[in-house]
């Protein structure tokens, strides 16, 4: 049976996720992810006309909190987690291109 997934699809998704995969890994994941998709496709053989579409396992809706301020973290603690900081801000390598 042919895989529902092409190697190039996996390469594209890997690129979007900033994953560097070797040719062997691409082949491996194309096969593994393909099996998962095939399994998902099994669902389409089921008769589900009477089933209400459900996007979330919980029946909860409108879970909200009050708009009241809570204490934020101490900046020194926050910036200590960063590889680099300058002038109270996170320093990151030069950005190529604009924000989406």
């Amino acid at each position: 049976m042919t895989s529902p997934l092409h190697r190039d699809d996996v390469a594209h998704v890997a690129k979007l996720a900033r994953l560097s995969l070797s040719e062997e890994e691409l082949a491996l994941y194309t096969d593994q992810l393909g099996q998962i998709l095939e399994h998902a496709n099994d669902m389409s053989t089921l008769q589900l006309d009477d089933v209400i579409p459900t996007a979330h396992p919980f029946g909860l809706i409108n879970v909200v909190r009050d708009d009241s301020v809570r204490e934020s973290l101490d900046r020194d603690v926050v910036l200590a987690m960063a590889p680099d900081a300058e002038d109270g801000r996170f320093a990151v390598p030069r950005i190529m291109g604009e924000a989406p």
Partner: protein, 475 residues
């Protein structure tokens, strides 16, 4: 601007507005512009592992208020993750609404009578703010970037119009009217210069009656003036490109305010694949009718309604008075004008003082009560203060507050008695027989001459109208 030949521009706008909540969208960090960098951050808005978002009730209510004001349908909605890698979004995705937004459909009527359809108005979170060091300040050429996450997670509503706009002037009018609505609903402070309202413009061109052309999206226009200029530039660029045999590519473009041009930011081929999927940490949002009704009932009148109500109080308003109405509505000053009209002050005078003197001293508007405004105008209307003096008193009230009569007295604005004004006018008539003769023969311009002379002699204490009355009585 008019496009050459039978070309027509087709514009749709995406307006992002930050919501005026106390806290961020999904955490209790303060939503506060201008705070020290990275002082309003926590595990949720920094995207630290294991943190969980909880939706801000007030943000939902403000989004509903916007939807109601735009005649949208409030529908059950969901949240999605928009995935991308960029340092301004530390969790590598932005929580947004995708196929099921809280507000669908609707419209906005503009003062010129045109109607622009609204496709949707959905909730999402803002990103952090990057500053690029080195190079020109623009991102290309920067050596490194510094990121402040105070803005990360601030609630936003994105309002997407239909492709109904046909000129840059209409685009500007739409943005201005929408801004007025956002301010009126209390959803936003509408401060474009602080980035609390930002606009992306989708622009294409076509020959009248033909199908839509390929569109370009101009990002991050942060003033009405930039919006106007960028749309004109982009539409003309597309027309010239097509007329010289070129083809418009679908792309995202950047507006350079200094150069007055748009330039390619990224093409469709480079466009991100955001891999939207449901945000598993948030449940559906489906405001019940009672909740919607509470918001609807609490909504104050919108600018269009307020504008119409104020115009009704004017008798045959002139174009200048209609402009003044726009200013008064835009700056939320009509309580002063209404109070004055209620107090039997000439609507034209009340409108003029509000649109000029109050508009010019907005930073002190908190010092001025409608009562003090009315009292000042009453003094002016009765002739106890000249126009110049009344303006000075209003300026003083805006600067420091106080009581108009006391301010006038402290400034030495005590009214000249009509006896003393009469004798001043008498002596001026005697000293200027030629001018007087011409005035008597009907040259009304000479009234200004006499007023000027009286003002000089009385050091501005006289009232222009009273001078004219004195002249008339001797004519």
């Amino acid at each position: 601007m008019t496009l050459p030949g039978s070309w027509e521009m087709v514009v749709g706008l995406e307006v992002h507005t930050e919501l005026k909540t106390a806290t961020k969208m999904f955490c209790g960090c303060a939503n506060h512009f201008g705070a020290e960098p990275n002082t309003n951050v926590c595990p949720v808005c920094l995207g630290l592992p294991g943190s969980l978002p909880v939706l801000n009730e007030r943000a939902v209510e403000l989004a509903m208020a916007i939807g109601i004001a735009l005649h949208s349908t409030i529908a059950p909605s969901t949240f999605h993750r928009k995935n991308y890698f960029y340092p301004d979004m530390p969790k590598d995705f932005q929580i947004s609404q995708y196929d099921l937004p809280i507000n669908s459909g609707g419209y906005l009527d503009l003062p010129d009578g045109s109607r622009v359809s609204i496709e949707r108005a959905h909730l999402e979170e803002d990103t952090g703010k990057s500053t690029h060091l080195g190079g020109s300040g623009r991102i290309h050429g920067a050596d490194r970037s510094l990121v402040d996450y105070n803005r990360s997670g601030v609630p936003l509503v994105e309002i997407v119009s239909g492709p109904d706009i046909r000129s840059s002037a209409q685009a500007r009018a739409y943005a201005a009217e929408l801004r007025g609505i956002l301010i009126a609903t209390g959803a936003s402070d509408g401060r474009m210069e602080e980035g609390s309202m930002r606009i992306d413009a989708n622009v294409s061109v076509r020959k009248s009656g033909e199908p839509f052309g390929t569109r370009c999206e101009i990002k991050n226009l942060n003033s009405l003036r930039s919006l106007h200029r960028a749309i004109d530039y982009e539409a003309l660029r597309q027309v010239e490109l097509i007329e010289s045999g070129g083809v418009v590519r679908q792309e995202t473009r950047h507006w350079d305010e200094n150069l007055g041009v748009t330039s390619t930011m990224r093409t469709k081929e480079e466009a991100e694949d955001y891999r939207y999927f449901r945000e598993p940490d948030l449940v559906d949002l489906a405001p019940e009718q009672a909740w919607q009704d509470r918001i609807r009932l609490a909504l104050p009148p919108m600018p269009a309604e307020r504008r119409a109500a104020l115009k009704e109080r004017l008798i045959a308003p002139t174009p200048a008075q209609l402009d003044a109405v726009e200013v008064v509505i835009d700056l939320n000053l009509e309580q002063f004008v209404n109070a004055a009209i209620d107090a039997d002050i000439d609507p034209v005078l009340a409108l003029a003082r509000a649109a000029n003197e109050l508009a010019g001293g907005l930073e002190g508007i908190g010092n001025l009560t409608p009562e003090a405004f009315c009292a000042t105008l009453r003094l002016e209307q009765s002739g106890q203060l000249s126009a110049t003096q009344a303006k000075t008193v209003l300026g003083e009230l805006l600067a420091h507050g106080g009581e108009p009569g006391a301010i006038a007295a402290a400034k030495g604005f005590e009214q000249l008695s009509s006896d003393s004004l009469g004798s001043t006018v008498e002596s001026l008539i005697a000293q200027n027989p030629d001018e007087w003769a011409r005035y008597r023969e009907g040259d009304e311009k000479l009234a200004q001459f006499f007023i000027g002379q009286v003002m000089k002699l009385t050091k501005g204490k006289a009232n222009g109208k009273a001078v004219v009355a004195e002249l008339q009585s001797r004519r």
